[in-house]
C-alpha cells in the first residue's frame, strides 16, 4: 500500500512536471509543423495546437488570466480570422505555394543561427546568481496569489497602479499604472477594427471589359 502510494506520488509528480514538458514539446513540434507544412489550413491547425500548448505553458506558469486570454483571443478570435482569410483567398492552385528547397535550406540555416544566438545568450545568463530575486524569493513576494494562480485581481490592481500587498499594508504609493496604455490600446483596437472593416469591404467595381467579354461569348454561342 505504501509502495503503491509512493509510486502514485512519483507518478503524480512526474505527471505534473511532465505536463509542462508535454506542453513544451507540443508547442515546439507544432511550431515546427507550421513551418514545414505547405497547406495553409493545416498550418492554421498546427498553429492552433501550438498556441493552445503555449496557453498550457501559461497556465503552468500560474498565468491563468493571460492563458485564458490567449485561448479566447488568439485561438478563438485571431485564428478564426486567419482561417477566414485562408478560405477567402485559398482557391485551387494557390492553396499550396511551395517554397524552393534552397530557400527552405537557407531559411533553416539562418533560423538555426538565430536560434543559436538566442539560446546561447539566454542560457549564458545564470539567472539564479545574476539576480538576487529569483524563483523562490519572488514567488509570494511579487504577488501572492501566484501560488494559487489567481491573477485576475492582481492584474486589475496593476492597471490601477497598485498591488494587493500595498493596499493591505496601507503604505503603498499608487503609481501611474497601466490605465493609459490600456485606453490607448482600446482606442487603437477600435480604430483597427474600423480600418479593417473599411479595407475588407466589398468593392463594387464595374467591369465593362468582363461584361463585353460575356456579351461576345454570348454572341459566339448564339
Amino acid at each position: 500500500m505504501n509502495w503503491l502510494a509512493q509510486q502514485l506520488d512519483n507518478l503524480a509528480w512526474m505527471a505534473h512536471g511532465g505536463a509542462v514538458y508535454v506542453f513544451a514539446a507540443m508547442a515546439i513540434v507544432c511550431a515546427l509543423a507550421v513551418v514545414f507544412t505547405h497547406n495553409v489550413v493545416r498550418m492554421a491547425f498546427w498553429l492552433i495546437l501550438c498556441l493552445a500548448a503555449t496557453a498550457g505553458l501559461f497556465f503552468s506558469l500560474n498565468a491563468d488570466f493571460v492563458g485564458a486570454a490567449q485561448l479566447l483571443i488568439y485561438v478563438g478570435g485571431t485564428l478564426v480570422l486567419l482561417i477566414f482569410g485562408v478560405m477567402l483567398t485559398a482557391s485551387g492552385p494557390f492553396l499550396q505555394m511551395r517554397t524552393k528547397p534552397g530557400e527552405m535550406v537557407l531559411g533553416g540555416v539562418v533560423g538555426l543561427a538565430l536560434l543559436g544566438l538566442l539560446l546561447s545568450s539566454a542560457l549564458a545568463v545564470r539567472w539564479g546568481e545574476r539576480s538576487p530575486v529569483l524563483a523562490s524569493e519572488v514567488v509570494g513576494a511579487g504577488f501572492n496569489p501566484v501560488a494559487e494562480g489567481n491573477t485576475t485581481r492582481e492584474l486589475g490592481l496593476k492597471f490601477l497602479g497598485a498591488s494587493s500587498r500595498d493596499l493591505k499594508t496601507g503604505r503603498g504609493e499608487l503609481s501611474a499604472g497601466y490605465l493609459l496604455p490600456f485606453e490607448i490600446v482600446s482606442v487603437h483596437l477600435l480604430v483597427v477594427l474600423i480600418g479593417a472593416a473599411y479595407l475588407a469591404r466589398t468593392k463594387r467595381r464595374k467591369q465593362p471589359a468582363d461584361s463585353s467579354g460575356d456579351s461576345r461569348s454570348a454572341a459566339l454561342s448564339a
Binding site: 537557407l106 539562418v110 533560423g111 538565430l114 544566438l117
Partner: protein, 810 residues
C-alpha cells in the same frame, strides 16, 4: 478802403456767374461730348449759351456800375478833357473811390502758408467790367462764327488733308465738341485772369490760359506744324513765366502778400494790399534816406496820416518838385517815427520784380524778343486765332501791365516802352512781306500789341488800354473775315492765290475793309468821322510824342511808332487789295470761293459796327472814360521827374496839349502808307516784284522775320547743342567708357566665377550626386521588394551584429 457794399456783392455775383458758367460748360462738353455723338452740335449750343449768358451778366454788371456811379466817369472825363485840370481830377477820383473804386474780397481761401494766404480773390473796377464785357462779347461772336467754321468736324470720319499717311490722308473722328470745350475752358481762364484779385491767382489763370492756348494751337495735333507750333508757344511762354515767377517770389518775400489792394476782412481786420503798401494815395514811393530802399507801409495804418498830410492836394500841385521833396521827407520822418520795424524793399529789387512780371507779359503778349511764337500759333483754327491770339489772350499781357501799373518803377516803364516800340516796328516790317493772310494779321497783332505796351510805357495808361479794347474789336473782326475767306476758299491762306474775292464774298470784303480802315487809323480830319483805330492810336502816339518831348533822349519812342503807323496802313491795305481787289490770280480758288453762311457773316457785321464806332468820341468818348475811371493814382498829374530815374512822365494835360499835333502826324503817315499800298497793289503803278528785286536783301531779311529764329538758333540752340554734344561726348567717352570697362571687368570676373561655379561647385555637387546615384543603383539590387528577403536580412543583420559583438568582447 472799400468795405463790402451791396453794389460790390451784386457785381461780384454777376461776374462770378459769368466766370464760372464757361467752366460748367467745359465740364459738360468734354465728358458729354466724349460719350455723345460726334455729329451733335449740342456742345456748340451749350458753349454759346454759356458765353452769351456770361456776356449778358457782364453787360448787366457794367450797366449796374454805371448807374450806381451816375455815369460820372463819362461826364467827369468829358469835363476833365475840357478843363485839362489834373487837380480836380485827382480829388474827384479819390472822393469817388468809395462808390466806383475797386471792389475786392476773398471768395475762397485755398491754403495758408504762414503769412502767405493763397486765395481766390476778386478785384472789380471799371477796367475789369470793360474787359469782361469785351471778352464775353467777342467770345460770343467768335463762338457763333466757329459754329459755322468748324462744322466740317461734325463727322465720324474727318479727313485731314494736311496730314499724309501711307494710304492717302489721315482720318479721325471729328472733334467738334472738343473745340468748343476748350473754347469754354479758355473763356473761363481768361475771365478768371481778369477777375483775379491777387497776383498769384493771376499767375494760375495765366498758366491756364497758356494751356488752353496750347490745346487750341495744337487742335490739329496730327499735323507736325501744329504740334510744333503748340510746343513753341508753350515753351516761349515758359521763358516769360520764369520771369513772372521770379517777380512773384520777390514780391512775396518783401511784401508777404499777393493781393492787389487792401480791404476789410469779414472779421473786421484790414489786410494790406500790394498797391497800398508801395504807394501812398498820390502814387508816390516812399524812399529811405539813402534812397536805395523803398519803405513799405502797412497800407491802412499810414493811410490816414498820408491822407491828412496830403489832404489838400490843390496847393501842392503848384509846389513842383520842391513840394514833392518835402512830402517825401515828411513821409520818411513818419516812417521813422511810427514804425521802426517798417519793412523796406531795395529799389533794385523792386525794378527786378517789375521786370520779372513784365517778362511774363512779354511772353504772353508776344513782345520782342519772345514774339516768334505768335505767327506760328496761326496753325490753330481761325476762330482760335481770332479769339485767343489776337483779341484776348495776347492782350492779357497788356492788361496785366495795366493792372499792375502801380508796382512798376519809371525804369521798368521805360523798358516797357522800348520793348513795345521795337516790337511794333519789327512786326510791322515783317508784315509787309508776309503773304499768308493769317500771318499778316498775326504780325499786325504783334505790332499793335507793341503799340499798347508803348502807350503804357510812356505813361499813357488810358491810351494803352484804350487801344487794347479797340484793337480787340477790329482785330477779331479781321481774323473772322480772314477766316471767312479761308473757309470760302477751302483752306487756302496764301494771298498770291487770291484776288478779286469781293465779287464772291461782298460782306466779308466790306467787313474786312472796315477793319483795315480802323487799324490803319484813317479818318477825315475835322469831322467826327473816324474809326476806332484812329482814336486809340492817336492817343498812343500822342502819349509817345509827349514823352519824347519831355525826355528828348528818348525821341525814338515817337518816331519809330509813327513810322510804324504808316507801315501798318501800308500792309493792311496791301492785304485788302491782294485779297479782294483786282483780278483773280488763281482761277481754281476763285471758282470755288463762296460767301460764308449767315452764322459767320452775322458776327462779322456786328463786329464791324463795333470796330468802326466803339471808340466814338475818342478820349472824350464813353469807352475811354470808363477805362480811365479806374486809372491808378500813379499817373502823375503834373510834370515831374522821378528822382531815381530822372525820367519825366507825361501828365494828362501834357498829352492833351499835344494830341492834335500827334493825331495829324499819324493821320498823314497812315494815309501815306495807304496810298502807297494803293499804288503798289490797287492801281499797280509800280510792280511790287520790281521793288522786291530792288531790295532783295532787305526783302529776304524781312521774309526771314529778321532772322530771329536763326538768331535764337545761333544764340541758344547752337550753344546748347554744342554744350550738349560736349557733355554727351564726356558721357560717352568717360562715363560710358568707365561703365563699359566696369561691365567688361564684371563679365570677366563672372566668367571666372562661372568657371569656378561649373567646375568646382557644380562638379562637387554632381560628383556627390553621381556617387550617391551609383551607390543607390548598385544597392538597388538589394531592394527586391520581397517581404521574405527582408526578413532574412533582418535576421542576418542581427546575427551579424551578434557575431561582431562576440568577436569584440572576446
Amino acid at each position: 478802403m472799400p468795405a463790402p457794399s451791396p453794389l460790390g456783392s451784386t457785381l461780384s455775383s454777376l461776374l462770378m456767374i459769368a466766370w464760372l458758367l464757361p467752366l460748367c460748360g467745359f465740364a459738360v462738353e468734354i465728358f458729354g461730348g466724349y460719350w455723345g455723338s460726334r455729329k451733335s452740335k449740342a456742345a456748340a449750343y451749350l458753349a454759346v449759351a454759356c458765353i452769351a449768358i456770361a456776356f449778358v451778366c457782364s453787360l448787366s454788371a457794367l450797366v449796374l456800375w454805371g448807374n450806381a456811379t451816375g455815369w460820372s466817369a463819362l461826364g467827369h472825363h468829358a469835363a476833365a478833357g475840357a478843363e485839362h485840370a489834373g487837380a480836380a481830377h485827382a480829388g474827384s477820383a479819390n472822393a469817388g473811390s468809395a462808390v466806383h473804386g475797386p471792389f475786392s474780397d476773398t471768395l475762397y481761401t485755398l491754403a495758408r502758408f504762414g503769412n502767405l494766404r493763397v486765395a481766390i480773390d476778386y478785384y472789380i473796377d471799371s477796367l475789369t467790367l470793360v474787359m469782361f464785357t469785351m471778352v464775353t462779347f467777342i467770345a460770343t461772336c467768335i463762338h457763333l462764327f466757329a459754329m459755322g467754321y468748324m462744322s466740317d468736324e461734325l463727322t465720324e470720319q474727318y479727313e485731314d488733308h494736311q496730314v499724309h499717311v501711307r494710304h492717302g490722308h489721315f482720318h479721325r473722328p471729328g472733334r467738334f465738341y472738343r473745340f468748343f470745350a476748350f473754347l469754354s475752358l479758355f473763356c473761363f481762364s481768361m475771365l478768371g485772369l481778369v477777375l483775379a484779385g491777387n497776383i498769384f491767382m493771376v499767375f494760375v489763370f495765366w498758366e491756364l490760359v497758356g494751356v488752353c492756348s496750347y490745346f487750341l494751337i495744337g487742335f490739329y495735333i496730327e499735323r507736325k506744324s501744329a504740334s510744333t507750333a503748340a510746343n513753341k508757344a508753350f515753351i516761349m511762354n515758359r521763358v516769360g513765366d520764369f520771369g513772372f515767377l521770379i517777380g512773384l517770389m520777390i514780391l512775396w518775400t518783401h511784401f508777404g502778400t499777393f493781393q492787389f489792394t487792401s480791404r476789410v476782412e469779414h472779421d473786421g481786420t484790414q489786410t494790406a494790399g500790394l498797391f497800398q503798401m508801395l504807394r501812398d494815395d498820390h502814387g508816390h514811393l516812399t524812399l529811405t534816406e539813402s534812397g536805395r530802399n523803398v519803405v513799405l507801409s502797412s497800407g491802412f495804418e499810414t493811410h490816414g496820416d498820408a491822407h491828412e498830410a496830403h489832404a489838400h492836394p490843390g496847393p501842392e500841385a503848384g509846389h513842383g518838385e520842391a513840394g514833392h521833396e518835402a512830402g517825401h521827407e515828411a513821409a520818411e520822418a513818419e516812417g521813422h517815427v511810427l514804425a521802426t520795424e517798417a519793412r523796406t524793399i531795395p529799389y533794385y529789387l523792386l525794378i527786378a520784380a517789375g521786370l520779372g512780371i513784365f517778362a511774363g507779359c512779354v511772353g504772353k503778349s508776344a513782345q520782342f524778343p519772345l514774339q516768334t511764337w505768335l505767327p506760328d500759333a496761326m496753325e490753330g483754327p481761325t476762330p482760335v486765332s481770332a479769339l485767343v491770339h489776337s483779341a484776348t489772350m495776347v492782350a492779357a499781357g497788356v492788361y496785366l501791365v495795366g493792372r499792375f501799373y502801380p508796382m512798376f518803377t519809371p525804369e521798368v516803364l521805360l523798358t516797357i516802352a522800348y520793348v513795345g516800340c521795337i516790337t511794333a516796328f519789327l512786326a510791322a516790317t515783317i508784315a509787309v512781306v508776309a503773304t499768308d493772310i493769317k500771318k499778316v494779321l498775326a504780325y499786325s497783332t504783334i505790332s499793335q500789341l507793341g503799340y499798347m505796351m508803348l502807350g503804357l510805357g510812356v505813361g499813357g495808361w488810358g491810351a494803352g488800354l484804350f487801344h487794347l479794347v479797340t484793337h480787340a474789336f477790329f482785330k477779331s473782326l479781321m481774323f473772322l473775315a480772314s477766316g471767312s475767306v479761308i473757309h470760302g476758299c477751302h483752306h487756302v491762306q496764301e494771298m498770291p492765290q487770291m484776288g478779286g474775292l469781293r465779287k464772291k464774298m461782298p460782306i466779308t470784303a466790306i467787313a474786312m475793309l472796315v477793319g483795315v480802315i480802323a487799324i490803319a487809323g484813317l479818318a477825315i480830319p475835322g469831322t467826327p468821322i473816324a474809326f476806332s483805330g484812329y482814336h486809340s492810336k492817336d492817343a498812343v502816339v500822342a502819349s509817345a510824342l509827349t514823352f519824347s518831348e519831355l525826355n528828348p533822349t528818348h525821341f525814338l519812342l515817337f518816331y519809330i511808332p509813327l513810322a510804324g503807323a504808316g507801315i501798318t496802313a501800308f500792309y493792311m491795305f496791301r492785304l485788302w487789295f491782294y485779297t479782294f481787289a483786282g483780278e483773280p490770280r488763281d482761277a481754281h480758288v476763285f471758282e470755288h470761293a463762296h460767301e460764308s453762311p449767315p452764322v459767320m457773316t452775322g458776327p462779322l457785321i456786328v463786329l464791324s459796327l463795333l470796330a468802326a464806332f466803339c471808340a466814338v468820341g475818342g478820349e472824350h468818348g464813353p469807352l475811354f472814360g470808363l477805362l480811365t475811371a479806374s486809372e491808378p493814382a500813379t499817373i502823375p498829374h503834373e510834370l515831374v521827374a522821378a528822382a531815381p530815374s530822372g525820367l519825366t512822365l507825361p501828365t494828362h494835360g501834357a498829352i492833351a496839349d499835344r494830341h492834335a499835333r500827334a493825331g495829324m502826324y499819324a493821320l498823314v503817315i497812315a494815309s501815306l502808307g495807304a496810298f502807297l499800298a494803293w499804288v503798289f497793289y490797287g492801281a499797280r503803278w509800280v510792280s511790287p516784284a520790281d521793288v522786291q528785286r530792288q531790295f532783295s536783301g532787305l526783302h529776304r531779311f524781312l521774309v526771314e522775320k529778321w532772322r530771329f529764329d536763326e538768331l535764337y538758333d545761333t544764340l541758344f540752340m547752337r550753344p546748347v547743342h554744342v554744350v550738349s554734344a560736349f557733355v554727351a561726348g564726356i558721357d560717352k567717352r568717360v562715363f560710358d567708357g568707365l561703365l563699359h570697362w566696369l561691365a567688361g571687368a564684371t563679365v570677366a570676373v563672372s566668367r571666372w566665377d562661372r568657371l569656378f561655379d561649373e567646375q568646382v561647385i557644380d562638379g562637387a555637387v554632381n560628383w556627390t550626386a553621381k556617387t550617391v546615384y551609383t551607390g543607390g543603383a548598385s544597392l538597388r539590387g538589394l531592394q527586391t521588394g520581397r517581404l521574405r528577403q527582408y526578413v532574412m536580412f533582418i535576421v542576418l543583420g542581427i546575427v551579424g551584429i551578434w557575431v561582431l559583438a562576440q568577436m569584440l568582447i572576446s
